[in-house]
């Protein structure tokens, strides 16, 4: 499955400045692995040493937080949009 991935500013140095890149996989987790294959070093920014998504990283598939879905196991379809968004303060 080919998905569009939105890259936030802190990670654009891995993508040559690109705001959006294409990646493929069957699940969010395998899409992240494909990002790492294309842009070495990026996965370590997103996931901790146990492979879990870092505490301050939010991943949204078509606008839905993957923690409301099946986390990294969430299945993806062709044309889906995955957004990587740092947590931000509120009020």
């Amino acid at each position: 499955m080919a998905v569009h991935v939105r890259i936030p500013t802190p990670l654009r140095r891995f993508t040559g400045g690109a705001e959006e890149v294409g990646a493929s996989g069957a699940s969010v987790g395998t899409v992240v692995d494909d990002l790492e294959r294309q842009f070495p070093g990026i996965k370590e920014r997103l996931c901790d040493e146990k492979g879990e998504v870092r505490r301050f990283v939010n991943l949204y598939l078509n606008g839905d937080d993957i923690r409301f879905l099946k986390h990294l196991e969430t299945q993806v379809k062709d044309g889906d949009e995955l957004s990587i968004v740092p947590a931000i303060a509120g009020g």
Binding site: P10, R13, F56, G63, R67, A87, A89, G90, G91
Partner: protein, 420 residues
């Protein structure tokens, strides 16, 4: 003179210079302003602070500004009210309400963080300020932007109370309401902040913004006569204020302005949006986001960015936390109004209700000093209590009609016989 030394990632410790930046490049952790406390301790005394104007800027060495503050010259230094009538209802000995429902100029604790954020935005030479908000922050950013003559864009969920919407609109910002909840607004804003060169107070100005919340804690200590309370109950939404109140007490202790043990800190959330309390009660570090469903809209943040630090501050202090249902929240608003004459919004009702619960559970001892944090004003959220207050009695302008009404109201007291 500034004592700011830079920015440091709270997660991995990576260091950065002072600049508009909200997350660590290495791990996305939040950044914290660092200070030279030893240098500050040599010059900052209780007397120096006491001699300054009554605003949050009296603690300016402990705030991250380099130049003269541009806004917020009347913000902060809100009343710390000794609440004896509420204490008697709750069955405790020494109780205070720190009342930011009367903060200047927009009646919530947000005037503290925004005073610092917009002063900083001006230092960084931005001409446009912005925020994602559940209402109070938008009110404050709009007012301070007007005062500073800056352009302003605010982003809110589309279901806010009228008072919160008009309370921004009056200052003339561009208001954008997003179909969705605060977490949806936040997600969009983080992408907007990436694209437009604006000062987003809670995004790229966040490390400075959050420091403003410390002044709530500084004031509590100063107003108690440079004494720390034993227990402080604080509402939790995104998780900004609670860890910063804890940091405030720690800093005052560190630079020698107060002595004694640090207070136990307690988190209050609405049961319809309690991701931090659920995690606290589970004994976990992991916060599962929730979809908010509560009348306490100002604290309806299902994915709290700083929730982890709320857990950490609560646990390290030896405190605890509880959640209150919507009915308990409304009862909390009524209780504070009737006992102390203070009208707070649902976030404050939550804090009152949770304080009551924690006292009843024995978590907060009845014979120790307690501070309840009231962070917002009830006049902005009339919808929350409209159904639960008495309607006026409507009569004609005739004394007879009032006499008849009075007789009904004072029943069953027998009527006094005129001339008898």
């Amino acid at each position: 003179m500034t004592y700011v030394t830079g920015l440091r990632c709270r997660e991995c410790g990576a260091e950065y210079p002072q600049e508009p930046r909200h997350v660590c490049d290495q791990c996305f952790g939040p950044l914290e302003v660092t200070y030279d406390y030893a240098g500050m301790a040599r010059v900052l005394t209780r007397e120096t602070i006491a001699a300054r104007p009554r605003s949050l800027w009296r603690y300016r060495e402990l705030l991250p500004v380099m130049r003269e503050p541009a806004v917020g010259l009347h913000s902060g230094f809100t009343p710390l009210v000794r609440a004896d009538r509420l204490a008697s209802v709750l069955g405790v000995k020494e109780l205070y309400v720190k009342d930011d429902s009367v903060n200047h100029p927009t009646f919530s604790y947000k005037d503290r963080v925004v005073s610092v954020a917009i002063s900083k935005a001006i230092e960084f030479d931005f001409d446009t300020v912005s925020c994602a908000s559940t209402g109070n922050l938008a009110n404050s950013v709009s007012a301070h932007a007007a005062r500073a003559g800056l352009n302003c864009f605010i982003f809110i969920p589309d279901n806010l109370e009228q008072g919160k919407i008009i309370g921004s609109a009056i200052y003339g910002p561009r208001t954008v309401a997003i179909r969705g909840n605060y977490d949806d607004v936040n997600r969009l804003c983080s992408e907007i902040a990436d694209k437009y060169r604006w000062a987003f107070v809670n995004i790229n100005i966040r490390p400075y913004y959050t420091e403003g919340a410390k002044t709530y804690g500084f004031e509590i200590a100063e107003q108690l006569g440079w004494r720390l309370p034993q227990h402080v109950v604080v509402p939790t939404a995104g998780g900004t204020i609670l860890p910063k109140v804890a940091k405030a007490f720690w800093e005052l202790h560190e630079i020698g302005l107060v002595e004694g043990p640090l207070p136990k800190i307690y988190s209050a959330q609405a049961a319809g949006c309690a991701p931090v309390i659920q995690s606290l009660h589970r004994g976990s570090d992991l916060i599962n986001p929730v979809k908010p469903d509560t009348i306490a809209k100002s604290i309806a943040i299902g994915n709290p960015a700083d929730g982890f630090y709320v857990l950490k501050a609560v646990r390290e202090s030896g405190g605890w936390g509880e959640a209150a249902t919507d009915a308990e929240i409304v009862a909390g608003i009524h209780l504070l109004a009737r006992a102390e004459g203070i009208f707070t919004e649902p976030a404050g009702g939550t804090t009152v209700a949770v304080t009551k619960k924690l006292i009843e559970q024995g978590r907060i001892p009845r014979d120790e000093s307690i501070v309840i944090s009231i962070t917002g004003n009830g006049y902005k959220t009339l919808e929350a209590v409209t159904a639960s207050v008495a309607s006026p009695f409507v009569i004609s302008a005739r004394l007879q009609e009032f006499d008849r009404l009075y007789q009904e109201l004072v029943q069953p007291t027998p009527a006094r016989v005129a001339g008898g």
